[in-house]
Subunit: 142 residues, 12 copies
């Protein structure tokens, strides 16, 4: 099963700030650590701070992947364009957030992306990604 993890703005800083929460691991290192739990998976990773590059990548993934795990960061709450891109995919997209966006500032309570996703996982730290991968595992079980 081919899965793209697509991270949005400022998520390249994971592991470089707020180390008390997530430790010293960068996202890439975290990913290496959890890959052994998903033996049949081909997991790729892409991060961009640019909204349109995320759309480009999502359109491309729709041709080449079996699913996408999307953490759109700050674009979650503002990007109609990215939401339209998710809407036009034919493969399942799972929305994840490291923190619980519903427990933060009010402008983060809205996800324009959620209505077009297979499901959403919020607030479990980096384990939100791992749960999303587990779900793709359920999916491949049938």
């Amino acid at each position: 099963m081919k899965i793209l993890i697509l991270n949005g703005p400022n998520l390249n800083l994971t592991g470089k700030r707020e180390k008390d929460i997530y430790g010293n691991l960068s996202f890439e290192e975290y990913l290496e650590n959890i890959k052994p739990h998903f033996p049949g998976f081909d997991i790729s990773y892409f991060q961009s701070n640019i909204e349109g590059e995320m759309i480009n990548k999502l359109q491309e993934a729709n041709q080449t992947q079996d699913g996408v795990i999307l953490n759109a960061g700050g674009y979650t709450h503002t990007s109609v364009a990215l939401a339209d891109a998710v809407k036009s995919t034919t493969i399942p997209v799972v929305e994840v957030h490291i923190s619980n966006i519903l427990a933060r500032e009010e402008y983060r309570h809205i996800s324009l992306i959620a209505p077009h996703c297979a499901g959403s996982v919020f607030g479990f730290g980096l384990d939100s990604y791992r749960l999303a991968l587990v779900w793709f595992g359920f999916l491949s079980e049938g």
Copy 2:
């Protein structure tokens, strides 16, 4: 690990309506099916249509359980009282929803409960419960 699954109003009807989505399984049957995946777990189940009974149960679980998986159904969006009860627990509570509440009517986009939960899992059908259990598994791994 002792986990209570606490279901709110109308969730006793699962498996009796919308069978095309969830099959003919009642929630109890579903639970029996997935229990073998969680060998070290002691999973109990309680459902009530009465808001205050859910509060009672949650207060009790806080004394006797290691965690709660809470689907508050329609009370998710309206019950300050239930949210206060979640806030006062000292064990982790995970919020789940069968459907993606952010993709439904606008009055369902608000979760009063989310700010006080460890995390939220929305939209994966009955597998939302299973993912929540997987997370408790991560937790017990340390």
Copy 3:
């Protein structure tokens, strides 16, 4: 035709207050008075101040009755849970109110229940119930 009249919070006080409007009749007495107008009907009555008990009763009625006349009182405007219960019934539910809720405080102008009802009758005093029964009579005429 089997019809349940389901009354919500504070409606047990009918006839005990505001006697200048409704006379000294309790709801039960009123019901006895109008029953002779509906010879082929089997009319039962249930009142509760507890939101969840109303949901319980509605779920039960869906198995045993041909229709429900529902005056949800103050829950009309706030209960997503009760509205979900009405939505999941397969028998017709008619919403009634003694007063015209659209002519009262603004927070009473919203009915979460109405979208899931066969129809609504507001403002005719206790005769709102009688009109709802008349409609079930039309229904049984075909």
Copy 4:
């Protein structure tokens, strides 16, 4: 008992569209069919697409009729002028709607007219009119 049925904009199209719901009967034909159920009634009918003509008619009815059944169509939600006219009548006015306006688009949830009516009947199809007539029957019973 002299009753005017006053229909507003686009209600002259009843029976010409959405035939699957109301059959092929025009409103006039429907009225002929139900008149025999109301032997002591003198029922007249007026329809206009023009807001001000409805006000004219309502003012006139206040001098000549015992009651009015009013379906103001789209003016229900926007016409302060028509609502003022209803407010100044001294005979009872009953508001009816064929569909349940509380179950449609949000801008149809507001009735400017309701606060000044004896009562409201929504959502029973053309039978909303018949129920209103039944209520005038209750009224003449005393």
Copy 5:
């Protein structure tokens, strides 16, 4: 000086209701009573319940009158079309209201017409019209 008094919906009922406030005088009788105070004026009067007829009259007055006193009744708060008509006049229009609209229901606090008027006079009963005429007197003084 030629002045048109243009009254909107339901203002033909003045003097027929709420007699304790305005006495038994109809608007026409009131007008006859105050005309002697305005010797150099040619005052005409038009009332309609129909929004579009008011627009017709206003467009016509713009060709034939020196000023308009406009009480748009319920259309004050809702009619963009009438406001546009006032905006396109080149003679002064004075807005009057018998009651103080800012002291009534909230939806009456908005006047779509006011921004396009020379001035507004609210709340002095029928004397609001007389004050408007006095102002046209000031105007003719230079």
Copy 6:
């Protein structure tokens, strides 16, 4: 192809005011000037300041025309009744505005009519009508 151009309130003043923008041509003269560009078309024209007359005309056009070009003027933003009339037509209706309503006062940003139209053309001056006719030409091309 039979097309009705239906103009709403105050649009009879076109060419009589704001001459610096549209020249001295009345709408009728403008129409004569562009008719030669549409040889196979039978174009008729109707203007009214009265909301209900526009509804009357629209209902009639639905029986006799192939399409309608509708500039509802101020009723665009307020008339649920007119919008309902557009919704019930079975021929295509194109919404036009001389100015760009989205660039004017906020209360003009809402068009109740647009959701029921084939398309909308805003802001090209009187050429908005000509573009609408061009589109009907595309339509007749197939």
Copy 7:
């Protein structure tokens, strides 16, 4: 008849700015000019930029005057305290504004004072005061 004209903040600048509109007359000079039109009146004048001083003066006037003409300037829209003071007077208070507040910025459309006034006169320049005096003349006529 003893009348106090009570002017609020920045109204001491009248005649010193925007001279193209009101000429070079200060408010005091204007007042001298119109006094001859009101022979039986004893008109006093007070201006303050301080909200509480206006309340003090209004309370005092309630003991010593027959009426007050109040232009509260910027406090019109924000001062609950001043509105309470107007509410507690037993003599008639007339609200005036030089400009038409309903035609200016949205935050000026609200008058907290209007609900407690005998009437309001807006937008006639300094003549708004003169019209208010004329009305007190009507009042003394009986």
Copy 8:
């Protein structure tokens, strides 16, 4: 004087959490401590997490008590049904809150219950109850 103290959801946890604020006393122990200050009082106590049970108790108290001290907890902000119950009592009800609800989250600033209470006491910790009792003492003084 017979007074019922009626506590709502989660208030059974007082003394069990946030001990730094209220000490180790449970509500029952606190009550025993202050009773000696109110020698002529017969004080009873009831707590429920269930909205409808609170309504039941309030209706009953209206028959048997001289007053009620009500802390509705989270239902304060959401329960139209409970507010209706307070409204229909004929004995004085005093609203109390341990914390100052106006100083907390915005959704706690609204009290649906306050409009129907004799008065409200917020923010004095458990002493809010004691102050309410003191007031009933004033009342019995006459």
Copy 9:
């Protein structure tokens, strides 16, 4: 214990209006009557209609008193400046209102001052002040 009672705008009129509610006592007389109940207290009193004078007094009291009882009248709902002043005091301030502000007009439901007060007492008439004094008594008890 030195306590300042600080009354805001229009509260100097207490006892001069609405005598049916509070009797003929002025606030000063009321104060004399209750002082004997508070033997160890040194109670001073200050009233002003001027927002800034209240701030001046509050800043001064912070140096010289042990507590303040504040009824800010109409400034309660609008004065950020006064609220800031309360916030910067280091002695306890208790907010009182004679009427229940939550039961009055909607713009009175907001208290900018409450978040910075020790507690709030609303709606007990002049006894609101007495209850506040009682609370300072509790405070001095320790």
Copy 10:
């Protein structure tokens, strides 16, 4: 006449999805098909998913083109930056949309771009572009 067609996010997918509406033509193929209708035009085409690239292109076009046809896709509703770019162009920009944005989700009803465009064409499918080109033809006619 040199015209740039500037398409925003996801519009590169036209012809690849929703084939039942637009056929199998890509936007480029569609453009080739209509070019013969515009013999004197030099039409270029640019698409980007990146908001800032669209701004870059628009700034460049302002130097090199006679007009722009802009379909900003999802950025229409959210991009103040793109709207500022349109505002600073000195050549006419025509806004087009394939669907009628006023008939879709509420967040699509707002166009930040429209106020700065020569005109807007919505809802005619790909023919919206063709109509925009026709208008540039009118413009070149003079």
Copy 11:
């Protein structure tokens, strides 16, 4: 260059509270410290807690100063009267705030004064005043 620094409510407390932020300097001492940096300046200082006194001072400064540095404190967000006073000055007024008001409570995000100021400086502590003075230095450079 003559500059008035005009400080509003509670700013007389600077240096007496929050000493960890601003040190022990009073505003007057701070002013003495920075004056040497502005050799050609004649800087005066005025503070008042009274809104109307600030208006008085501002009107006076308009006659006697070359510029004003205004920190309106809590009146920034509520005072239409003060904003009107700023609007009527003909000398430049610079708005300053010690803290960044856009980073505090939502009701502090609105500045009624800003639209009428030459510019605004927020959030640099007492150095906000110094930057404002620097700007007046730029101004005098030409």
Copy 12:
């Protein structure tokens, strides 16, 4: 001291439009003119129309600079992503705007960036940048 000036969308057009306000200087030329005033500073400059490139640059500056002067143009009001990037910097960021954003359209009154900045300078034209540099000078003074 190393300072990056980071300009957002459309700010590359400065000096090319609105020359009457800023003269013919481009931003680069302006920068050269003021650099001599800041002898100990190493000032670099970057402009981009692309939101994500601004985030990239800001993240990089956080490693290499001592401070950032940020004019985010239209992204100020809409970009949660850019605001998150500012929030995660550890060097001071000063927000500047050429115009006073609080005096422009309402959607420009909100700055998502301000809460995370050291301070904000609005409305002094290009001198807003110079004042920001002056402040960094204060900072280096200690």
